[in-house]
């Protein structure tokens, strides 16, 4: 595993450039590795990461600082980016540019507290490129979380999928914005959005705002958004098997959040996320 902001990259792996306000890393073609990025070491600099052709890299981000990260993903590369946050909320902006046949999977396990502004822009620039985004977020006390995910389909046969799951408790606020744009001539492209927020208290505020902007006829697009209280039929079903109402509600809530764990590879992260969920739910 490479600790990107601590280690020096060897020439076989790639190169690093440091400017006054920007850090730039470029991975050579066909690199297959795991990379850890500690956001606390960024010191508010913009970070650009380029993965050239046919790279297979798992990026794992930790740390709580504000960040602005730009990933440039080369042809035939398969990139995974996972992020886990459990302390103070921050402002984070991500941009991903995907070339032909590039494949991106992103998962964000968001259990931070306080206010958070999270923005992701995924540009499917090359034909046959594909991006999958998954989020699990939990807001409690007076947290205010705004998460915006947008996909731009710019070429033919591109695919995007967004799955945002949120749980809002106490006086907290969750706002999901999802925008999928399919440009003219991006034929055979598919865009799917799914946003669900479960609210626990009357004082919660939750909003899911899905937008599809389609400028091409030969496409597939769907969106689903659900904001509401816990399903009483589900609670009854579990209680009818002997679970108490609070156990049933806990299991259903965990069911909203737990699937994010599957996106993380290392056991340590899986454990930390499970502990964060258990503690907050």
């Amino acid at each position: 595993m490479i600790d990107l902001l601590r280690e020096t990259l060897s020439k076989e792996i790639g190169e690093k450039k440091e400017l006054s306000e920007e850090l730039f890393f470029s991975f050579n073609e066909e690199i297959n590795d795991k990379v850890c990025i500690n956001l606390d070491l960024l010191k508010n600099k913009k970070l650009t990461i380029e993965c050239r052709k046919n790279c297979h890299i798992n990026f794992f981000e930790i740390g709580e600082n504000n960040s602005n990260i730009h990933y440039i993903i080369g042809e035939d590369s398969e990139i995974k980016m996972t992020l886990f946050s459990s302390s103070k909320g921050a402002n984070k902006v991500y941009t991903f540019d995907l070339s032909n046949s590039a494949n991106l999977t992103c998962a964000y396990a968001d259990f931070c507290f306080g206010d958070e502004n999270f923005e992701v822009n995924i540009n499917l620039k090359g034909e046959n490129s594909k991006a999958i985004w998954r989020l699990a977020t939990l807001a409690s006390n007076d947290d205010k979380k705004r998460i915006s995910v947008s996909f731009n389909h710019e070429d033919i046969n591109t695919y995007s999928e967004m799955n945002n799951y949120g749980v809002s408790k106490d006086d907290s606020e969750i706002r999901f914005l999802g925008t999928s744009t399919i440009k003219n001539k991006a034929k055979k492209s598919a865009a799917h959005q799914n946003a669900r927020i479960m609210v626990f208290d009357e004082r919660c505020r939750a909003e899911a705002d899905p937008v599809l902007c389609i400028d091409e006829n030969d496409v597939e697009a769907s969106h689903a958004s659900v904001v509401g209280k816990i399903n009483e039929d589900h609670v009854f079903y579990l209680c009818s098997r002997g679970l108490s109402e609070s156990e049933a509600k806990k299991l259903i809530t965990l069911g909203y959040l737990n699937p994010i764990i599957e996106f993380f590879d290392d056991e340590n992260s899986k454990n930390n996320i499970a502990i964060a969920i258990e503690k907050k739910v």
Binding site: E232, Y237, S240, R241, S244, Y256, N258
Partner: protein, 275 residues
């Protein structure tokens, strides 16, 4: 000796009275077939016994060995040995079947079940129900076919071993092999324990396989006649019209349900109260 006594039970759903004074007693080792036309309250009775909060009991009693079931929460009723295999089991996304089954088993035990013992029991019940162990790692009923859902209900019945089980149209959506598998599991439970069953079905086939000891017929929200298994054959042959001529019971026709707004597999009572 476990006995369930229902006395003068009146139940409203969304302020519409569905059950209008049900009286029924079920003793241990009994298998009672509950029949009746669509929309006359069979599922409502089962849901009210289990304690579904949508079904409001306005009058009457339900006693389990003299204990007031209506004063208990849903989970307390389950822990007392009541089980309802539902007509439309909920799909609960994100809740893993095995986690749920383990939590359900543990809710009825003082000491949590060990992992090995749990998997041993699960494997045995899955084999009986001809369910792949892979289903245990899927989300609860999510994406299950109609038949898989029903078999999963019986799998839960086998694992939880209640004293009193209610089966609400467990045979709907089952193919012949699955129906035989479900019936065999029910018969084995009957042979190996003192479990009693209250079984709702529209079809004589299930009853032929599980051989009820008694039959009760529900019309207009009341049990109008009780008898032996021969009543099932009569209804299978002649329908319910003869009750009108022989007993003078006017069978209230099901309220008209707009066919454009309903579908096969909808509960007639639920559709009616929507109106």
């Amino acid at each position: 000796m476990k006995t369930l006594v229902i006395e003068n039970l009146h139940v409203n759903v969304d302020d519409k009275e569905i059950l209008k004074g049900v009286n029924l007693t079920i003793k241990e080792n009994e298998t009672v077939a509950l029949l009746g036309p669509n929309g006359h309250g069979k599922s409502t009775l089962l849901a009210a016994i289990m304690g579904n909060p949508r079904y409001k009991v306005t009058e009457g009693k339900i006693l389990l060995d003299g204990k007031d079931l209506l004063a208990m929460s849903v989970d307390e009723r389950a822990k007392s040995g009541i089980f309802l295999a539902m007509q439309y089991p909920s799909e609960v996304p994100g809740v893993v079947n095995a986690d749920f089954l383990k939590a359900a088993i543990n809710s009825c035990r003082e000491k949590p079940i060990g992992l090995y013992e749990f998997y041993r029991q699960l494997e045995s019940a899955s084999k009986t129900m001809n369910i792949s162990m892979e289903m245990a790692s899927r989300f609860l009923n999510e994406g299950f076919s109609g038949g898989e859902k029903k078999r999963n209900e019986i799998l839960q019945l086998l694992l939880l071993k209640p004293d009193f089980a209610m089966l609400d149209e467990i045979d709907s959506g089952l193919d012949v092999d699955a129906l035989n598998c479900v019936s065999e599991a029910i018969n084995n439970m009957k042979n190996q324990s003192t479990i009693s069953f209250l079984v709702v079905s529209h079809y004589a086939r299930l009853y032929q396989l599980i051989r009820p000891t008694r039959t009760a017929i529900m019309i207009n929200g009341r049990i109008v006649i009780e008898g032996g298994p021969e009543l099932i054959s009569r209804i299978d042959k002649d329908g319910y019209e003869w009750l009108k001529y022989e007993l003078g019971i006017e069978i209230k026709k099901e309220d008209h349900v707009d066919m454009r707004t309903t579908s096969i597999g909808s509960c007639a009572v639920k559709e009616t109260i929507k109106k």
